[in-house]
């Protein structure tokens, strides 16, 4: 036993620490799913529909099946008895089409799986897939959700000729009164176009069947390994504990890997039938066509206000393009938009009507922000439009309507309770950063010289830390296990499934501080259902804000046990625990965590009512969501000759509560802003009238590249949430949510002297050039 020499350890929380994940990533030694090679492994390729809507007259697999190296070809009828791809969204009256693993008698979108070919290597499998002959009777398709709702539109699913999957209504406050008392009502149609999530790693999986054990191992590129395990076991009729799902290194998700896809079940089914390990890797072209898309809104807003700018009520009609099927959460996403409609404002009345529409397109589902960017974009555009109508400064109008600091916890018109906030703080900080008053003067000067300079802003709120279980489809808690090994090293197993967010580092920081152990001694494991206790996964800015507190409470439980062993070793009832040492208050003597671990596992002697070992598991159920917020300001200049937008400044001030690792937080904000600017300026999934995806490659789908991005000046205000003991709120989606309205605000502001009030995204140079031309010459070039 050591004499007391307790030095306060340097805290790790709050430090810009480089990541533990990185050594394997920067040396090319990480293992992504396509890096797996198993003995006897075969390769699966999916044959897909080239049509948006067609009847399958026949499928001829003879030529493919006869090719050397081909082991199996399956078509729709071979999987007709298997369960459907699950939809986890439950809305009253929701129409759920039968989503079979392979098309039966019809195809509903370009890319719809029709057959699967399995061969000894990927080149042969691709050749054989080309040799599968499908005879189609092409039918009329519909890709535009508003056209799909029009009378006489082609029916995506013949049994539902109105193409309506569901309708949803929510109302709060007294909307009739709000509009009756209004001095001014502004209206605008606002779209949030379909986007393609595009993680750099496409989907992919490797399935392995262990016949003797009747068990399946699936390595799959997913954000939710445990959910995949539960759903897959149900679909395939396997015991859940005999299905092991592993998320190896995952190359990005952004929501599109928060799902159970047909190919994961199909690959598993083939592995079981063939008794060989099967690898399926999605090509980029397939990723564009068949992995879920995001957004897909056409919204009609009306905002009622007093002439002093007080917002009284918000009405919105949301048309959600659902695509042809429901994936896991698709129909639930626009209901999240509805919850977020009031934004950061005090407006007490709201009314929303959602219609979910079937189209002959790939399903939409969660994409970074999932419903909240659409809502924030809408309300922020409307506040700008209202400011223009009232000839008020848009910042002043926002400051006037923000929920006030003394009003928290604040019940919203949509039934949420905003946890905490100081909504003016990030806006004021962003305005100071750009020197807003001076900037407006510069703008006035620039306008005199004919320059189209714009200052745009957004003040956004978010629903994060998904979430209280009653408000989620599959449980919203998270789990953590903390083990102190006999040597004193610490292993953390978290139920979240990081794929770029850096929790191996941030959770090590939390553990180092709260357990009082060296940062280097902590190993964080995740993503393998055979290793980690049941968990929910990584999405909805929840990993640190729900998984972090679970870890915190597991550590607290473990400390209780550590103190029992410490008391036994120190022969005292009065011991404290800090910095990895138990200390006796009376004698001042202490024992280290290493000595305690040794004693706990050697178990020569045990404290009363205490079992050997040092392990604690905690499942933490949050009592509320968290509600991060922030303000973004973009300054831009538009070239009237080309319509090109030059971003002069981009300032992002986010309040995500306490920062565990500011370096990682900055990375999340930068990446989020890039995806938000991507939507605002360049990206759009374009389907033509035949429901062909014409932006189906990186050549045509304009993701931001390095030279297109501005330097992002990021900063923070810190308002810790009372919802969890770490005071953290989540930051994964913040940048995306704040960026698109700020960008549109800036460009509209630049063009406002021409009478422009709103522009729909993406604001491509061509669109801006045509707009300028029409406003200046009346020409519709």
């Amino acid at each position: 036993m050591a004499t007391p020499s307790i030095t306060k350890l340097e805290p790790f929380i709050g430090k810009r620490i480089r990541r533990k994940e990185d050594p394997r990533l920067i040396t090319g030694t990480a293992t992504y799913v396509d890096d797996l090679q198993l003995p006897g492994m075969h390769f699966a390729v999916v044959v897909r529909s080239p049509h948006g809507a067609a009847r399958i007259k026949s499928v001829d697999i003879a030529a493919a099946a006869a090719m050397k190296g081909v082991a199996m070809v399956l078509t729709g009828r071979d999987v007709a008895d298997l369960a459907c791809v699950p939809c986890g969204a439950s809305l009253p009256g929701l129409r759920v089409p039968e989503h079979r693993l392979l098309a039966q008698d019809r195809v509903y979108y370009v890319g719809h799986p029709v057959a699967v070919v399995v061969a000894t290597d990927r080149y042969i499998a691709k050749d054989a897939a080309e040799a599968v002959e499908v005879d189609y009777e092409v039918l009329q398709a519909v890709a535009d959700p508003e056209k799909a709702l029009a009378p006489g539109a082609p029916a995506v699913h013949p049994q539902w000729p109105d193409n309506t999957a569901f309708t949803f209504h929510q109302e709060g406050g007294d909307i009739e009164k709000a509009f009756a008392e209004a001095d001014v009502v502004v209206k605008q149609r606002i779209t949030s176009q379909r986007l393609i999530p595009s993680p750099l790693e496409t989907r992919g999986c490797v399935a392995q069947w262990h016949a003797a054990e009747k068990s399946l191992t699936l390595h799959t590129s997913t954000q939710v390994p445990h959910l995949v395990r539960s759903l897959l076991a149900q679909m395939l009729g396997l015991d859940e504990n005999r299905v092991r799902v592993v998320a190896p290194e995952v190359g990005g998700g952004f929501g599109c890997k928060l799902n159970l896809y047909a190919e994961e079940a199909l690959t598993s089914h083939v592995a079981m039938k063939l008794g060989k390990p099967i690898k399926w890797i999605e090509s980029r072209r397939e990723n564009f066509l068949t992995t879920i898309h995001g957004r897909g809104h056409v919204d009609y807003y009306e905002v009622a206000a007093k002439k002093d700018g007080t917002i009284l009520g918000i009405k919105v009609k949301i048309i959600q393009d659902l695509g042809s099927y429901h994936q896991l959460l698709g129909p639930a996403i626009p209901t999240l938009s509805v919850l977020m409609i009031p934004g950061l404002y005090r407006a007490k009345s709201m009314c929303a009507d959602v219609v979910g529409v079937f189209t002959n397109c790939v399903p939409t589902d969660a994409y970074r922000g999932a419903g909240r960017p659409e809502a924030t974009h809408g309300i922020e555009r409307m506040v700008d439009i209202l400011a223009a109508e009232l000839k008020m400064d848009p910042a002043e109008l926002r400051l006037k309507n923000f929920v006030r600091n003394e009003e928290f916890p604040f019940p919203t018109a949509t039934g949420l309770i905003y946890d905490t906030g100081d909504y003016a703080a990030p806006l004021r900080k962003a305005m100071e950063t750009v020197n807003y008053t001076e900037l407006r003067k510069q703008q006035a000067d620039a306008r005199k010289h004919g320059k189209l300079m714009g200052i745009g802003m957004s003040t956004y709120g978010e629903i994060c830390a998904f979430g209280p279980s009653p408000a989620t489809p599959a449980g919203g808690w998270e789990s953590a296990t903390v083990k102190i090994e006999p040597s004193g090293k610490v292993t953390v197993m978290t139920g979240v499934s990081p794929h770029g967010q850096g929790e191996e580092t941030t959770f090590s920081q939390i553990t180092a501080d709260h357990l009082g152990v060296p940062f280097e001694d902590v190993l964080v494991q995740h993503g393998d259902t055979a290793i980690v206790q049941y968990g929910i996964g990584t999405f909805g800015s929840r990993a640190t804000a729900v998984g972090g507190p679970a870890l915190y409470y597991a550590i607290q439980e473990l400390i209780i046990k550590i103190k029992k062993f410490g008391a036994m070793l120190l022969e005292s009832d009065d011991v404290s625990y800090a910095n990895g040492q138990c200390t006796c208050a009376k004698t001042g003597k202490s024992v280290s965590i290493k000595e305690i671990a040794g004693a706990a596992y050697r178990a020569m002697k045990l404290p009363a009512n205490t079992e050997p070992g040092l392990v604690a598991t905690y499942f933490w159920e949050p009592t509320n969501f968290t509600f991060p917020f922030g303000a973004h300001i973009m300054v831009a200049e538009v070239d009237p000759g080309t319509g090109a937008i030059d971003i002069k400044r981009y300032v992002a001030i986010d309040d995500c509560g306490n920062l565990i690792n500011p370096l990682v937080v900055d990375g999340q904000v930068h990446g989020g802003v890039a995806q938000g600017l991507g939507q605002a300026l360049w990206e759009q999934a374009v389907y033509d009238d035949n429901a062909q995806l014409v932006s189906g490659e990186f050549m045509d789908y304009t993701m931001p590249r390095a030279h297109m991005m501005p330097w992002i000046e990021s900063g923070h205000t810190i308002t810790p949430t009372p919802v969890n003991p770490l005071g953290v709120k989540g930051v994964g989606e913040a940048g995306t949510i704040g960026a698109s309205p700020a960008a549109v605000s800036a460009v509209v502001d630049a063009l406002s002297p021409l009478g422009v009030r709103h522009i729909d995204m993406p604001m491509t140079p061509e669109k801006i050039w045509r707009l300028i031309l029409s406003k200046t010459t009346g020409s519709n070039a």
Partner: protein
């Protein structure tokens, strides 16, 4: 066809299909899985390697075209435990998130500095233009290249 290619200093001879892509040769014949396949159309750059000292996208070149060539992949950059300055800078500056684009980004960043030891921010961004990243917004990658430039080799 038979090809002889020197990869990361080791000479390999294999009989390969004429249509075998260099990326598949590296990943499946040599088990060098650090270079990734992000698009197979030369648009994302996740497969970037050095061919005779020049950065190329290995998804868009056949293995047989590389007969007699020297190839360096991400696995060949570090010297023992000592990381290349670009790798070290990516680590220090948080240039990687999910890591899938990272090997290609590191290879192209090395190329940028090989051609121009002291690039401006605009020159760095121009040099990174052929490589896509969906996670970082590029800012920390730009900072990593700037940091590596300051270190010099």
């Amino acid at each position: 066809m038979t090809v002889t290619i020197t990869v990361n200093g080791t000479q390999h001879t294999h009989s390969v299909e004429p249509r075998l892509l260099l990326i598949h040769y590296l990943r499946e014949h040599l088990s060098l899985t650090g270079s990734h396949i992000g698009c197979e159309t030369s648009l994302c750059g996740a497969c970037t390697v050095e061919l005779n000292g020049k950065a190329v996208k290995s998804c868009s070149i056949f293995a047989v075209q590389c007969n007699g060539a020297q190839v360096t992949t991400i696995e060949g950059l570090a010297t023992g435990d000592r990381l290349h300055r670009v790798q070290e800078a990516f680590w220090n500056e948080h240039g990687a998130q999910c890591g899938f684009c990272t090997p290609g980004m590191v290879m192209v960043s090395k190329q940028i500095l090989d051609r121009n030891p002291d690039p401006t921010e605009a020159e760095i961004r121009h040099g990174l233009e052929g490589n896509l990243c969906r996670c970082t917004g590029y800012q920390h990658i730009v900072k990593a290249v700037q940091a590596a430039a300051r270190v010099r080799a």
